[in-house]
Amino acid sequence: MWQGVARFARNRMALFGAAVLGCLLLLVVLTPVIYPDNPFKLAGPALQPPGGRFLLGTDTLGRDVAAEIAYGARTSLLIGVGATLAAIVFGAVLGGIAGYYRGRTETVLMRLTEFFQTIPAFIFALLIVAILSPSVSSEIIAIAAVSWPSIARLVRGEFVALGGREFVQACAGLGASDARIILNHMLPNCASSIIAVGSLLIGTAILLEAGLAFLGLGDPNVMSWGLIISAGRAVLRSAWWICTFPGIAILLTVLGINLIGDGLNEALNPRLRER
């Protein structure tokens, strides 16, 4: 484990990613202290440029863009992590069952997975949110629903590879139950791959959430980066700051998370260890 951390720490890009994510988490924690008011509150005159009373200016309704971004970070992380966890649990269960039991179960489950994988992710997510009516929970469900197939395929592949190994066969020989073999012996052995892929999924989930909110399918009661950009788009040529800052926030966050994901992948993947 410590070896892994050390390998991760040697990767400068991954450290940069971790620093970005650290700042973001700090921002989320401090938001209620820095901006005790609701981010939807009309804080001052509309369309104030950055640098004055408002660090990042105000939007078309006179709301503080900096406060909006701070609260948006919370939404983005909540939905990004929530959707990814949901996708991992669902994907791991399906992929695990398919990879462990093989045979007809595997055929059915993997065809199902492939079926979901062929639907364009963003359009499918739009459809789900439109049907469920936009809210934080429906966004999490929609993003999880388009993200799980990659986890399921990964876990199934790992399980197929682990299934023939001696320690697994030894467990079976000793009379361990299926659940015990899967949970105690097989899952921990593919945890590193799941973590690496899952961390990348968070970035994708945050992008999907921003896209949904941009198209007006975010929860209208919750501030989010996509919502700020969509509100500022109409005045892009006269008030650049409304779209620019949340755009930079999305860019940095997704970049940071991807760099961490790459770092984790390199640190935890045995095949890349010696490079």
């Binding site: 939807f40 509309a46 439109a130 009516s133 209208p220 109409a234 006269s238």
Partner: protein, 544 residues
């Protein structure tokens, strides 16, 4: 005056041929003057229509994007001057019977449809009785009292009415009651008629081509009954879905005209600084509309008048006007648009909600209604259905949530796609507060009757009485006003109606909407009457 462009050319050539500088320069001055106020024949005008209409069946579908194209082709019996008085068009004169139960129209000689068929009283009869009264979404309201059309001769049409219908004289333009060619439709399925998307009318422009997703081309009607008109050779209606591209098309001179607020309000300030462009708010005098909040009186505590009034008091309309509508429009004072001031039906002598101590009043009303603030400062929670017709409505909803929180009403916004939203509100009545945008038509009859009469509580019909307002006294006044022939007496009745509504507050009236047209300064005489973009551009001309 009819202008002959050949004269201009000859004089210019002559001037250039003359060696005398003096003559040449005086001729240049003459030409410059001529440029500014003398119409020029020819040219192609490009107008932006947003969004692209799904059909051009102007007689069966009402949508704001159809008339700018369709009224170039279909004409009405009359047009309107700036004071909204009817002026001769396809009808040269008319006479209303003393009992108000018939209107006799004398029709214009020498008018032919684009297919060469002469225009006669049979076309009027067929259009009114067989097409508009049966298939048009709004005309049946206008023509509710119409029992038949008599055609004593080819050039006389008599509208027979069960009761006087004074409002009918406001709705006879091509936008509201267009005249179609009987021989095109007779014996066919009206709604499947091939002329739906290749319209045939009597107007100054003929249908040319519709390239879906791109443009509709209209060609000059060489046989138009107004001599010398139209000036333009073609009108191209272009469809540009992206707002920024629409603005750019105007700024680069690629398009000459964009009406009906096709240009984003946010871009108008920049447009105004462009020396080649200008804007006008004229031409929408007969297109009144209000943005409102509908309150579902079946959902407590909105059944209490004090609660509805408190909501009306809690909202600062000037904030919506400034930050959501970019300053275009006026704070609404009551149920009728102030555009009805021109005809004397509007009054602001009603219960006023935009008062300095409005927040105190709102809090007092809510306290009095037995709705004290809870531990979190909120009295009660409600859902607001976000209008799905554009992003500005989400901005308005976000403001409303903040404004009502101040008086202790906790709004939760719900934004759904258009079909789900309309079904929830108008079919399932599963809403508390709704924020629609209501067109009010050419006479108070439409806007008031459909929104507030108890008989208009019609499950499943959109944009009618969904707030469950039912007041027999008020219904009596509206029904009387509908048939009252004396204009001044009608005005008194409508004043009373507005006062009752403002007091009962079944809806909260927000903004008296103002549309804006943006045009290239080279385009002249485009807005010649109160119907603006929804009447023909026969006098429009382009500087060369």
């Amino acid at each position: 005056m009819v202008h002959d462009p050949r004269l201009n050319k000859i004089s210019r050539r002559t001037a250039l041929a003359l060696p005398l500088g003096l003559v040449a320069s005086s001729s240049t001055i003459f030409n410059n003057l001529a440029k500014a106020d003398q119409p020029v024949r020819g040219g192609t005008m490009v107008m932006i229509v947003q969004p692209e209409p799904s059909t051009l069946a102007h007689y069966a579908v009402t949508a704001g994007n159809i008339p700018p194209i369709a009224t170039q082709i279909y004409e009405g019996l009359v047009t309107y001057d700036w004071d909204q008085n009817p002026q001769p068009n396809l009808a040269t004169s008319w006479e209303i019977a003393p009992d108000g139960k018939s209107i006799t129209f004398k029709l214009r000689e020498g008018v032919v449809f684009h297919n060469g068929k002469p225009f006669t009283s049979a076309d009027v009869q067929f259009s009114f009785m067989e097409i508009l009264k049966k298939y048009h979404p709004i005309a049946p309201l206008l023509l509710a009292e119409l029992t038949g059309v008599d055609t004593p001769d080819e050039k006389t049409a008599v509208l027979l009415l069960a009761n006087p219908a004074p409002y009918l004289m406001k709705g006879l333009a091509g936008r509201d009651l267009p005249i179609m060619c009987k021989s095109v439709f007779e014996g066919t399925q009206i709604l499947q008629n091939p002329s739906a998307n290749k319209p045939i009318g009597t107007g100054p422009f003929k249908f040319g081509q519709w390239d879906r997703g791109q443009f509709v081309r209209l060609d000059r009607n060489e046989k138009y009954w107004k001599p010398g008109l139209p000036y333009l050779d073609h009108i191209i209606a272009r469809f540009i879905p992206d707002a920024a591209t629409r603005s750019a098309a105007l700024e680069t001179g690629e398009a000459h005209f964009a009406g009906y607020s096709a240009v984003n309000y946010a871009d108008l300030a920049r447009m105004k600084t462009n020396p080649t462009l200008d804007t006008t708010m004229k031409g929408y005098e007969m297109t009144p509309a209000l943005s409102v909040l509908e309150l579902n009186a079946k959902h407590a505590p909105l059944d209490k008048k004090e609660v509805r009034q408190a909501i009306a008091y809690a909202i600062d309309r000037n904030v919506i006007l400034r930050d959501v509508m970019y300053g275009y429009g006026k704070p609404a004072t009551g149920p009728l648009s102030s555009l009805f001031k021109t005809v004397g039906f509007y009054t602001d002598d009603v219960h006023k909600y935009d008062v300095p101590d409005r927040l105190d009043i709102a809090n007092r009303l809510l306290d009095g209604a037995g709705l004290p603030r809870g531990a979190n400062g909120m009295r009660f929670g409600m859902h607001l259905e976000v209008n799905s017709f554009g992003e500005q409505w989400l901005r308005q909803a976000e403001y409303l949530k903040q404004a009502l929180a101040i008086v202790g009403i906790d709004l939760t916004l719900r934004s759904e796609d258009t079909a789900t939203w309309l079904r929830r509100v108008y079919t399932e009545y599963d809403y508390d507060i709704n924020e629609p945008f209501l067109s009010q038509g050419v006479d108070p009859v439409y806007g008031l009757n459909k929104q507030y009469l108890a008989s208009q509580i019609r499950k499943g019909v959109t944009f009618v009485n969904d707030s469950f307002y039912a007041n027999p006294e008020f219904d009596g006044i509206l029904n009387e006003a509908m048939r009252e022939q004396d204009h001044d007496k009608r005005a008194v009745l409508y004043k009373k109606a507005q006062q009752i509504l403002a007091e009962d507050c079944p809806l909260v009236w927000l903004i008296d909407v103002q549309y804006v047209s943006v045009f290239n300064r080279k385009l002249h005489d485009h807005t010649t009457g109160p119907l603006g973009t929804q009447q023909a551009f026969e006098r429009a001309w382009l500087e060369t």
